[in-house]
Symmetry: C2
Subunit: 382 residues, 2 copies
């Protein structure tokens, strides 16, 4: 057979900066990054897309951005800062997508300009998708403002929106130009938000880093009080483990292996079944509890370990159970989540379970009876 072989590799690099009060005139972090990307003779544009929840909690943010950017030499702020609704709503409304694409067109944002998104994971996912497909990729900068986005989705390479109620049906893999984790934004989160944001740290510790799990047990009290130093360590270590995983074998997920989705198959379904009344982090907490107990029932994980997991979740005041989790038989609502997850992965079901704290292990089938037993224990026992 006659053919021409194409083969090339593309290098991706970005930094996740840790800072505080990013638009304080005395904070050079954001400005230095931008000036390092300046090109002589070109004034690059900055289009800001901001989560409504953030502008409500930080009333002068838009003025701060304008004042900060006025001092930049080679960059020009698009005056019209765009404010979009936060939370899952940002990803459910196709009109928002086109509104942002139109803004990119109208303000002539080109491939050397930057979309700067400030907000929770949903707003970052929406803005990142808009940037990724406009002109085949406008550069984008992320400023995640929640615990969850600072330690998880915001530091990664995915974006996307929902379509016909299917989570992330449309999206791409597109590494950001840079990420800025600003600790100040965390101070205005409501308790439910920062608390549930810690679950991804529990997750990544369980599958990858037993020492980090020990640390969380030792600092559970500080964490439940959002003591800043402990919270910062948790975010940083979680982001580090998350990024190391992405930078490993399969950044754009060409295979079926998805260890970072530990606890997520039921969580995605629970979010949907509760019409997103459950926070993502709360749903993942229940999903982790379920898959940990299931790992124990199936003889993969010892009892002492599963008790440590249950206890840490309880100490962090994260939920273990929701009535919609109930499994009567293979046709129960939550079981559809398994099939949807299989479809999302493509072809073969691959679920991460636990062999030990700090050690995930993949399986390719789930036993409905054992799952029902796990649900019953979560309902009645703890």
């Amino acid at each position: 057979m006659s053919y021409i072989q194409q083969s090339f590799s593309v290098q991706f690099e970005y930094k996740v900066y840790f800072t505080e009060k990013i638009f304080d005139p005395a904070n050079p972090c954001f400005a230095s990054f931008l000036e390092s990307r300046a090109e002589k003779g070109i004034r690059k544009k900055l289009l800001f897309i901001v989560d409504e929840g953030v502008t409500e909690a930080h009333a002068t943010l838009q003025e701060q951005i304008a004042a900060y950017c006025a001092d930049l030499e080679n960059f020009e702020l698009v005056q019209d800062v765009i404010v979009v609704p936060g939370g899952e709503a940002a990803k459910n409304d196709l009109q928002l997508f086109y509104w942002l694409v139109n803004a990119i067109d109208q303000h002539a944002i080109d491939r050397h300009s930057y979309v700067v998104a400030i907000g929770g994971g949903s707003v970052l996912d929406l803005a990142g998708y808009v940037a990724a497909v406009s002109h085949r990729g406008v550069k984008h900068i992320r400023i995640p403002t929640t615990v969850l986005s600072q330690n998880d989705s915001g530091v990664g390479v995915k974006n996307g929106i929902n379509y016909h109620g299917k989570k992330n049906f449309l999206g791409t893999f597109a590494p950001p130009a840079a990420v800025f984790n600003d600790a100040h934004f965390l101070t205005t989160l409501d308790e439910r938000d920062w608390r549930s944001g810690m679950i991804e740290a529990v997750k990544v510790a369980l599958i990858k880093d037993a020492g980090f799990f020990d640390w969380m047990e030792a600092h559970a009290q500080q964490l439940t009080q959002a003591e800043p130093q402990s919270l910062q360590y948790l975010i940083r270590r979680c982001a580090e483990l998350h990024m190391a995983h992405i930078g490993g074998k399969d950044p754009f997920e060409s295979g079926s292996s998805r260890p970072l989705d530990f606890g997520h198959w039921s969580a995605h379904k629970l979010e949907q079944l509760t019409d997103f009344e459950l926070r993502h982090g709360e749903a993942v907490s229940i999903g982790i509890a379920l898959d940990s107990v299931y790992s124990w029932i199936k003889g993969m994980l010892d009892e002492a370990s599963v008790m440590r997991i249950i206890n840490l979740l309880k100490q962090l005041r994260l939920p273990l159970y929701h009535p919609l989790l109930e499994i009567e038989d293979e046709n129960s609502a939550i079981m559809a989540g398994l099939e949807e997850f299989r479809e999302h992965l493509g072809g073969r079901l691959t679920i991460s379970l636990l062999r030990a704290i700090g050690k995930g292990e993949e399986v390719h089938e789930m036993d409905a009876a054992a799952l029902a037993q796990a649900v019953n224990m979560l309902r009645d026992k703890w």
Copy 2:
């Protein structure tokens, strides 16, 4: 400044196969490729998206596909082959995009399944974009059916659709899983289509390969008669040069350098000004004539070379001029093409001109008076 560094590279590989009558039961090319991607225990799906022009010229194509795929062991044909209008129309209608996305949803095409697109460049661009953003990237196979798509866009890594009349405003870089150039599809093209499709070969020879240009001069007569062997050599060499360029420094075009866009700044504008009545290849022929004559007027290219270029285009019966090319002053319609091209590149205007046959050279400004002079010569002199 405290930060975590992310750094990884992603490897991309695909083959462009040269074959004839790809769905002939005796032709193992397509089947062997698929079986090389089979995974035990998974039946992967194939969703075909076909250019209406192709189904009109090849009335039994759908039956051939069905019969061919019935013999595949690990792949399952989605019975509902999707036929879309060809030409620029395919990229102008957002409803087509959603129609295809809905098909991916409805038929549960996942990241291990394949979208197989058969058609001209526009249908491949549309289908490639749909595949790229569905589930963050369903695999796609391209079967280009025109000279232009077999030697140029079909073997590359871009996809996209138009938005608000702006060419390729939405799109991504997403390498295909494989490309199959089937010579049989070329036999049903109308003359204007295969003739104008040769222009990208002229272009890539001019900027990269003087020997290939010599070959085209020596085979101009065979080429104007679409003599199969000559046409196949032209397509293959052009595809090879094109792919070598993509596989070089900047596959996803992060910089402003765009040598493969030689002759394209005015061509894109002419296509739009003529409401796509001019074929892409015809517009590029005029654009190449313009920028070659301009290179000569500016003293970059010698007269003998510019005459060889003009003569080859004339021998291939490709156009040199269109009334809408007329330049009165800097506000003439075609001049807006320069500004749009600058915006598309981002920041800095970068135009490829010629230093010699086989040797491109980039400039960062264009002189309106010299351009007007070049247009006048193309109108009156040749």
